[in-house]
Symmetry: C2
Subunit: 237 residues, 2 copies
């Protein structure tokens, strides 16, 4: 259920990381949002040292930016970073699906199919938060099933960037191109057609990227907030 076990063995820190990461993915925390240490200690009922460690990890992952002596904020990657991230994702994920075509077991395929079913369900009932989250999880799932620890870690870093970018440059309800494309990828995997799976993945990622590129010039969401109001409080859970 937690998105991904981090490298830390400490449960509390992992929980902090996961919750923040989840909040970003489902748009509860916008890029640029302030993360005060004391606030987090209260929320998670822990000490400031733990929060500090968690923030340090999240900075390594690229989810938050720590301005020395000034605090931590959800990161605001630029368009450059977005292009790099998509570029790298293309390279990594094509390799992942190719590998999965060879190594996927019937259970793996069943797992993926089940996941897509969940996506469809969320899409059908208009639960946009779940759609966004599940859509990202699909790609992480492919990495996890392919069994490559390292590639999973890298893909996580890349997904964080693209998620942030999506949160920043999303004009309106650019539907995250429903589960149909995921289904096409899975079908190719099931048919053990490496070339087709690779192509479908490329098409899918390209689709994602271009959907974002539309809103290239507009200013990031939090730019306004940062420029105008300063004392916004985060909603309490």
């Amino acid at each position: 259920m937690p998105w991904l076990s981090h490298s830390t063995t400490n449960d509390v820190i992992n929980q902090i990381c996961d919750r923040i990461w989840l909040a970003v993915v489902q748009r509860t925390l916008r890029p640029g949002a302030r993360l005060k240490e004391e606030e987090l200690t209260e929320i998670f009922g822990t000490t400031r040292a733990r929060v500090r460690q968690a923030l340090s990890i999240l900075e390594q992952d690229g989810l938050v930016t720590i301005y020395p002596n000034r605090g931590a904020c959800i990161a605001e990657p630029g368009v450059e970073d977005a292009q790099d991230a998509f570029s790298a994702r293309l390279a990594i994920e094509q390799r992942l699906v190719t590998r999965l075509c060879r190594s996927a077991s019937v259970e793996d395929i069943a797992t993926l199919r089940d996941h897509i079913a969940q996506e469809r369900a969320a899409h059908a009932r208009g639960d946009s938060e779940a759609v966004i989250r599940l859509s990202g999880e699909f790609h992480m799932l492919i990495a996890k099933l392919s069994g490559a620890e390292l590639l999973l870690k890298i893909l996580r870093m890349l997904t964080i960037r693209t998620s942030l970018i999506t949160a920043m440059y999303q004009t309106q309800a650019t539907q995250t191109c429903g589960p149909d494309e995921h289904d096409r990828i899975l079908t190719a995997i099931e048919a053990r057609d490496e070339a087709r799976a690779s192509n479908e993945m490329a098409h899918h990622l390209h689709h994602l990227e271009t959907a974002l590129r539309l809103s290239d010039t507009p200013i990031p969401v939090s730019g306004l907030r940062e420029a105008l109001a300063t004392n916004l409080r985060k909603r309490s859970p």
Copy 2:
């Protein structure tokens, strides 16, 4: 001069990370070597908290593994990780050289040519430590010149893995295939021939990997140490 600026803004921590990373690259620190916190505090003349932060970062990078309540050691990646790392490096670096073919300035090319000259010099005078270090730096340099922050960070993680693997599974003086192949890559970049540059890079990485794969069955260097003796002291600088 420092291999790569980390994400931290703290100079001391960066220095610790760089020195350890350098020591690993030039085989002063072998995989599996113990890293006691107090020892490091003395060496770098800092506090234990800083050392702890540095170790945490290095763990994120995959250079050290931290065993809870038992201390930190230089990581010992398995052959699986090696294959993944090379696989990812291939994907990333092909993209990097392709990009560099378009964006490289004359100064960039001069920088690369100068670097290869240094490699040749080190190779000529039999300075194997410098050869290993410079050979790795060449790839990082390509990433840096291509201007992609993210890809540089990822390549660093991958290079760490392959360096560790090289240190572990290197049978004898498997010469790190001299600077000639680097030169071929640079020539292709200079000619703006994207396809050829990409191919040369692929060939180069494949060469690196197969040179390692030869010693697949043998046990990692520090496996012996870990299994037999436990109280080895690191040489003092």
